[in-house]
Amino acid sequence: MKGQYFIIGGGGTAKDVVAGLRGGDKSVAGVIVPDNEREQVSKWFGGRILSDDEFYKLVKDNSEEKISVVVAISNNDIRKKIVDNLLQFSNIVFPIVYLGNEEDGVVMGKKSLGEVVGRGSIIYPGVLINEMASIGEFVLINYGVYLPHDVVVGDFSVIEINASIGGGVEIGKKVTVAEGSVILPGSKIGDNAIVGLGAVVMRNVPSGATVLGNPAKVVFKR
């Protein structure tokens, strides 16, 4: 099953990952979804569709083989829950997935993508990462995002389309930075925070807070 990826999820992110891999030289071995999503997924995916149980059986039956899995779910809490569960299988590996045709040029500098980005992360085309940035595991970086020098992105966070992130910005774990938001250089975004659509962040965002507006204000906290 070398060079073949099992995709977990049947939503928009899974569609993006399947399309992105088709464009490159990697192939999709199967998509794993709950039974009630199987019919929906069969409309856009002609390959093998497995339930959780079928997939677990496959993983156990092939315990000598490395099985590459992409958790293509944009909800940070659900993505983490699934990954935590998959970690019990030592033969599952989580490659970094780049959805463009050529990985060259994604990292600005001498480092490779794997030296800057943690395992299981999904990087869309049109992303540029300074080699002096540090991106965690199971992170989603969507189209049109530049991550400049000294940016830190924690595990299980997602940076959505065209978010504009300044140098030295520190983004915690399980953070969502929504489409079109702007984060000023040096700001810190706490764990589990949400930077809402188009928000302009001028100062630090506390953990668990949702901010919105220009300048961004806390509109929700949990």
């Binding site: 949400i194 809402g196 807070a209 949702t210 919105l212 507006g213 204000k217 509109v219 929700f220 949990r222």
Partner: protein, 73 residues
Amino acid sequence: MGEREQKLVEVVKRVLDVKEISLDTKKEDVEEWDSLKHLNLVLEIEEEFGVSIPLEKIGEIETVRDFLKFLEG
């Protein structure tokens, strides 16, 4: 409970899709009351009651009752 209070509770029930809602319901006690629903509540209440809730006040709303002060006057 007055007519306005009743209408408020109904709007919150509808937006959150939760049956057990009163004026004293706290957002932290309702799992469905997440940040997106919180904003939907604000938008829906603004429309239903023809009021405007300032962005900087939205974060201070912790209970259903807290919406009442924006409906007065």
